[in-house]
């Protein structure tokens, strides 16, 4: 789509990490807490399996079909109709999750900071900014996290260092066995499954040899961040963690530097907004590029505004305002895991089967290895 845009594996790693850490810090503690209770700091480690699996599948698929993303090779693997259907489902997933992130953010802002501003207006503003970034292309989106990387680190230092005396080991571990934390990890697929968006970025990575290492680093960093946050939240709030919507925001209220710098929520909000903007761009770009490829358009830029409106539409779709209101239901995580990990895995298996069936000589040209049915279908058209 974009010919010369090249990104590096490290940039992609930072983008994926920062994009998921914003929403992760905000709402994952309460989700993890409602399943795992005091074991909530173990849950990210279970979830990590999903994240790593997701990225591994995407990289394997890209190795089979270099230079293509899921929308493109889905057709080559499953044939025209099934491929279109699968990629449509995937696109819906991308649109839905990104719209949902906008919803989370506008909810958070209007609950905590702007009670009298219409939430939709808050959403429109951030979508506008993200549209500008998507319009500038993949290079700009991937360079942005490099610039903003120091700020979340600074935030964590500012918040955790004063809390240090309050931190204590969280005991007991595995009070109700291993299962609660495991289910917590499953629920965290709400974040880990989103790593599958990497499929739209991987074809532009110029140092493919380092891709595997860097992209694995990203879920690991997220896991460590969530584990550390959940641990400090449990050690301060204890069992009450699941009762707050934004437990992290609650613990920042405990921070006080010499009684002069208090109420750091606004600072946290600013950094969250940056992370949310990154997350929205991350999904927005995927949605625009994916939709353009699904419709076989030469450029994704004309789709930016329509996709933006779709995202806003998703964000006001009638879902319970307090997100994940059904705390103990796994419906949402299951949907995320199914689309983010299940679908690609299905494609990978199908691709393996297909590659196994076709003679070795045809392996070389991955583009030409489209199924005979597809070729026929294209010929008849």
């Amino acid at each position: 789509m974009e010919k010369k845009s090249r990104i590096s594996a490290a940039q992609l790693c930072l983008l994926m990490y920062l994009a998921s850490s914003g929403t992760g810090l905000m709402s994952s503690p309460s989700v993890a807490a409602s399943f795992a209770g005091l074991d909530m700091w173990i849950a990210p480690f279970w979830g990590l399996i999903g994240g790593i699996a997701c990225l591994w599948i995407m990289i394997q698929l890209h190795r089979l079909y270099p230079g293509q993303n899921l929308i493109q090779y889905a057709e080559a693997i499953l044939g025209r109709i099934a491929g279109k259907a699968i990629s449509f489902l995937f696109l819906f997933f991308v649109l839905f999750t990104t719209g949902y992130v906008i919803r989370q953010m506008t909810d958070f802002l209007s609950n905590s900071f702007f009670p009298r501003t219409p939430p939709l207006f808050l959403g429109v503003c951030i979508v506008f900014v993200c549209a500008a970034a998507v319009n500038s292309g993949i290079e700009v989106i991937c360079r942005l996290p490099v610039l903003f990387f120091p700020f979340p680190i600074l935030m964590m230092v500012v918040i955790f260092v004063p809390l240090f005396p309050d931190l204590k080991p969280v005991l007991p571990i595995f009070e109700h066995g291993i299962l609660p934390s495991f289910w917590g990890g499953c629920a965290l697929q709400l974040w880990y499954a989103v790593f599958c968006f990497a499929t739209f970025y991987i074809p532009n990575v110029h140092n493919q040899d380092k891709l595997m290492r860097w992209s694995m680093l990203s879920p690991i960093l997220l896991c460590l961040l969530l584990a550390a946050t959940n641990w400090s939240i449990t050690s301060i709030l204890g069992d009450a963690a699941s009762m707050y919507h934004y437990p992290f925001l609650v613990i920042t209220r405990f921070v006080s530097f010499s009684e002069f710098f208090e109420h750091l929520e606004s600072i946290v909000m600013m950094i969250w907004v940056v992370a949310f903007a990154l997350r929205i761009m991350y999904g927005y770009y995927c949605a625009a590029v994916g939709l353009a490829q699904w419709l076989k358009l030469p450029d994704y830029r004309p789709l930016i505004w329509p996709v933006g409106m779709l995202l806003l539409l998703m964000s006001v779709w009638d879902i319970k305002t307090t997100q994940f209101a059904q705390f103990d239901s796994l419906v949402f995580p299951a949907f995320y895991a199914l689309c983010g990990i299940g679908l690609p895995f299905l494609l990978l298996v199908a691709a393996w089967v297909r590659k196994g069936m076709t003679p070795a000589s045809q392996h070389k040209t991955s583009n030409a290895s489209a199924s005979p049915q597809t070729q026929q279908a294209e010929q008849t058209k």
Partner: protein, 510 residues
């Protein structure tokens, strides 16, 4: 319609006259030139007979030709000595003792050379003329550049005359690898521009790209280098300067040594350096003339202060309008006490004061020096004090505006400073509308814009993102000159990497 036809016929005649070759008849040449320079009272036509030789015509423009030289080395030999009865071209030219002379065969070229101050000599019976490079430029003395002063460092600045500027660079770069490509731009002004670069250090594609962009310019005139800047910058709709304008030859030379190219324009003391990044615009030449630790400290101060210059009024507005809980209680009480009588919301108050401040500053630049101090007294004392006591603005607001104003002077590049001054206002609106959320969104928007900017192929935020650790030692810090051992990699495959003898460090002793 009639007027248009008249105009068309004038242009047609100019074109026709210019297109003619120089003919063998001196009479017809004189007629053509006289027609061409009709009503140009400063053009002198001097007809004379060379002793023992043919009839000759000397044309020059009074005031830009060195008439003393002309008399001593051209007129005197021809009139008093003359030729030995020969009428040929060679015989005449040999009498003339001017170091640089060239022949012309078309009226167009002859007119160009006359305009550049070179006198033209035409002979009867010769379809060729000669011009002598003895222009005389009235020029201003070389002075310290007012806008880029340093405490330590060279004090000379460019002037309006191109060849003097080039000589200032050449004096510092005595290598034959220092190259200059000249070309003239502007149909009427015919402004001479020179691309300066060091062969073997600069990526040749960069020079080629610059030449290509310059050749695309087709306008009637170039008066200042800014006109060229607007034609060749990568993103014409950006607020940020994408070329560095400088008056200092030492800045040009050090940029050339880094592999950049410079463009000097006749008639403008500002030369343009390309490519640049945001952080090079945040550097002052004095950073390199002071001790490295101090210079690093100053660089950080500058970065910090530039954030204040951009964001302080908007953060004040946002915090006061939306996030009062952020202010420590004691401070909040003080602020609210001083804001008690203020009838305006914080945004309006901030806009009022910032606009006033900008107006005062602009007035300070434009007014004659004698009046300038009066304005600053009126501005600073009367308006500031009176506004507070009249209850129109609060004193914290005055402080914010004052700090912002001082902060914006710390940005060494004037164009960048202007951009930052202007960008404050939209951010203030965002802050008034959406508080800190608005500021963050505006910030992200600006950063996205800057990330998408390129200056001659080099990303605008380049050492920061995309990240180039090697360049941090001349951006985030200013390492001592022996540690700046590698040239920055700008574009292309040609990268003359080492600036210092390899494996040479001042830290290793014995």
């Amino acid at each position: 319609m009639n007027d248009n036809k008249g105009l068309e016929s004038i242009l047609q005649m100019q074109r026709e006259l210019l297109a003619r070759p120089i003919s063998t008849s001196l009479r017809s040449n004189t007629d053509v030139l006289r027609q061409l320079f009709e009503n140009a009272s400063d053009v002198v036509f001097h007809e004379f007979t060379i002793r023992n030789g043919p009839l000759a015509l000397l044309v020059y423009i009074d005031g830009i030709t060195d008439t003393k030289e002309l008399e001593r080395h051209v007129l005197a030999p021809l009139k008093t000595d003359g030729t030995d009865g020969e009428l040929g071209w060679e015989a005449v030219i040999q009498r003339i003792s001017v170091s640089s002379s060239q022949s012309v065969r078309t009226i167009q070229k002859a007119a160009d050379e006359l305009g550049a101050g070179n006198p033209l000599l035409l002979l009867e019976g010769q379809a060729v003329g000669a011009f002598f490079a003895i222009p005389f430029w009235q020029m201003r003395a070389i002075e310290e550049p007012q806008a880029e002063t340093v405490v330590r460092g060279p004090r000379e600045g460019f002037i309006e005359t191109l060849h003097v500027n080039l000589s200032m660079i050449r004096r510092r770069l005595q290598t034959p690898a220092f190259k200059l490509k000249k070309l003239s731009i502007g149909r009427y002004t015919k402004t001479t521009c020179a691309i300066a670069y060091i062969e073997g250090v600069t990526d040749p594609n960069l020079v080629e790209e610059m030449e290509r962009r310059l050749k695309d310019i087709d306008v009637d005139g170039i008066v200042d280098s800014n006109h060229i800047e607007e034609w060749i910058e990568d993103n014409p709709l950006s607020l940020f300067p994408q070329l560095q304008a400088t008056e200092r030859p030492d800045v040009v030379v050090s940029s050339l040594l880094e592999g950049r190219i410079a463009l000097l324009v006749n008639g403008s003391p500002f030369s343009l350096i390309a490519p640049v990044t945001l952080l090079t615009l945040m550097q002052s030449s004095e950073d390199y003339y002071e001790r490295s630790f101090v210079a690093t400290g100053i660089r950080w101060l500058r970065l910090l202060i530039s954030f204040i210059a951009i964001l302080m009024p908007s953060i004040y507005v946002a915090v006061l309008s939306f996030h009062q809980e952020m202010i420590p209680t004691a401070l909040l009480l003080t602020i609210s006490k001083s804001r008690e009588q203020i009838p305006f919301p914080a945004l309006f108050e901030a806009l009022l004061m910032e606009v006033t401040f900008e107006a005062l500053r602009e007035a300070g630049i434009r007014l004659p020096k004698q009046v300038g101090s009066a304005v600053s007294i009126v501005g600073a004392l009367v308006i500031g004090q009176a506004a507070i006591s009249a209850g129109i603005v609060s004193s914290p607001m005055i402080m914010v505006v004052a700090i912002t104003g001082v902060a914006s002077f710390l940005i060494p590049n004037y164009q960048l400073g202007l951009a930052i001054r202007l960008i404050r206002f939209p951010i203030m609106f965002c802050a008034g509308l959406l508080g800190l959320y608005g500021i963050v969104l505006a910030g992200v928007f600006i950063v996205v814009h800057m990330l998408s900017l390129r200056s001659f192929g080099v990303p605008y935020l380049s050492p920061l993102s995309p990240i180039q650790f090697e360049q941090f030692k001349d951006t985030l810090v200013r390492a001592p000159s022996w540690a700046l051992n590698k040239r920055p990699h700008l574009t292309g495959s040609i990268w003359n990497k080492l600036r210092v003898r390899p494996h040479h460090s001042r830290l290793k002793k014995g």
